[in-house]
Symmetry: C2
Subunit: 209 residues, 2 copies
């Protein structure tokens, strides 16, 4: 049974209730930790707004809210120009969520939640050692959207993952690596593969890989 | 064991291999069918680039590639200003993937893959009857990004879902509604909830909901 909610219905909801509902509508989202630094304090923030922009050059986008707990991360990105994205693991999703608490600016979320920063020799922003997939990015484009959120697009500089999780066609099996997903604002999920499908052609039965 | 790939390594990969890999890096993605019309033919395209922009006003974004099979959808959106987003269900993910085949412009993917269009009395774009969550949107902002992809942001006009899947705080249980997720370009997944976590506070143990 399907019910309808009009725009008026949505506008009349209590603010927190509406935030939960609208955040559920976009479907399952990537669970990622954003690693930044101001040169002294290493900052970590869970985000669920990462979106693929392109493969060549390799670009990832994300939506940031400047007037929230994400402000320190955004300031660091503006100051340094570099940041990392690290997959949240199903085994420690609670630690990822805990980074959303409002810590002081000079307090590191790494220490507060019990995750370990590591630095590669060529990159200034902190990675999360416990993540199975680490991505180092340099800001490529940064602008405001109509509701005063900000979109940051980064160009991938380097990536870390276990190569034995790579399929022969380049697909990285992030399910085998226990990457988590998010729905709504606070629900974390593991996954179970239904299938990989071959390139689809008109009037030809779809094959699985 | 974690291996590193530098930007040079990524740039030297074969094109399709790189597309599979980079598309895997963004983590789990929303599996959604984009419904549009030119007034005659109802168009359906699977997309995995939906991103939450804001709850008040309710805004969803998506990244579109104008020089691919998505061109017809994009033309319809430009012409009409309205479109729908419909959650892909784990029970018919194959039909969703089949919409990515290169059908003729005057051929409806609804007919081709066996899904059913429905129209609400106040909205011009087609919804997918088999989806458990249907969202009607009006274009609010549309612009090009640095790699010539296009970002379309839509304002939600109406939503359809079963209200018994709503939690008391507004969270919509899209796992109970069998919403699928995507990793890479062609892998479809069901989900299993790990936990919902309460609002996180510094130095207070995280509680589950």
């Amino acid at each position: 049974m399907t019910d309808r909610m009009t725009r008026d219905d949505l506008d009349n909801l209590e603010q927190r209730y509406r935030a939960n509902l609208i955040n559920s509508l976009s479907g399952f989202k990537s669970a990622v930790l954003l690693g930044t630094t101001d040169g002294k304090t290493n900052n970590l923030a869970v985000i669920s707004s990462v979106v693929h922009i392109g493969a060549n050059p390799p670009l990832l986008g994300m939506i940031m809210r400047p007037h929230t707990v994400q402000r320190d991360s955004l300031d660091n990105i503006k100051q340094q120009g570099f940041y990392t994205l690290n997959h949240v693991n199903t085994q420690w999703a609670d630690k990822a969520h805990q980074t959303s608490a409002r810590y002081e600016q000079d307090e590191s979320e790494f220490d507060a939640v019990g995750l370990t920063p590591f630095f590669s020799d060529t990159f200034s922003a902190p990675y999360v050692k416990e993540s199975e997939v680490n991505i180092g990015l340099k800001v490529a484009q940064h602008f405001s959207l109509l509701n005063n959120t900000e979109m940051v697009i980064g160009e991938i500089q380097e990536v870390f993952f276990a190569k034995d999780a790579l399929d022969k066609d380049g697909y990285l099996d992030i399910e085998a690596l226990n990457t988590a997903s998010i729905s709504g604002l606070d629900s974390y999920h593991s996954s179970k593969r239904l299938a990989r499908y071959a390139y689809a052609k008109p009037n030809v039965p779809l094959e699985t890989k």
